[in-house]
Amino acid sequence: MLIRHTAALAAMLLLGTAPLAQAADKPTDPQIAHIAYTAGVIDVEAAKQALKKSKNKEVLAFAKDMVRDHEAVNVQALDLVKKLKVTPEDNDTSKALTKAAAGERAKLAKLKGAAFDKAYVDNEVAYHKQVDGALETLLIPSASNAELKSLLETGLKIFQGHEQHAEHVASMLK
């Protein structure tokens, strides 16, 4: 069952369209913590690549916002798991996310200038949308600890805000 759930969740995270995993296939709190933390780390790494490669003022400002916010969320996440004595547990979903992100970074590494800016920002819109979907339909409803659930809810608002911010930057690049 574990393989089925993680595969389904990974598919949902990556495509944003797969149906909800069944209740019996819910990820555990240590897995949820790991997935949420990984999702933040991935966006920080994408932003750091943009900070090195982009020359566009709007893109650079956006990337700095991503680093600042996701690092702040992840500091809170680490404080919380420490307090709850939960050890985040690596899982197939986290692994699939990390692998997909590495592929995306390799693709972006080959681009330059305006082509890079557009690909980075478009991917930011798509990525935040996918994570919003996963948080809303699976991770938040599956979390059993109230404090973890509350942090995920704040994380959802941050991700939704970034999605709108990224859409705004994308519209300015056109």
Binding site: D65, R68, D69, A72, V75, Q76, E153, T154, K157, I158, Q160, G161, H162, Q164, H165, H168
Partner: protein, 103 residues
Amino acid sequence: MVPKRHLWIALALTVIAAPVKAETIQVTIDKLVFSPATVEAKVGDTIEWVNKDMFAHTATVNGGWEVMIPPKKSASLTLKAAGAVDYFCRFHPNMKGHIAVAP
């Protein structure tokens, strides 16, 4: 002895003549929510945003003013013009607020 009636008139005049005191109105930011989301103020009042989040926010009016609100800090703006404005956070445009400013 001053007649009592005169005292009352003097008092009443003082109250009427005194300018309306400017107020400071607090808006708290907690977990990416401005509260209260809608504020009624008048020209000369100050809005003070108190940011309880670990995130930086802004209060931004499209084509108008912008206030930066650092994490765990406060920032203020004195209202100079009458009218109603919608504001949002530029970093998280899903955060929205409204201020109605009376003359």
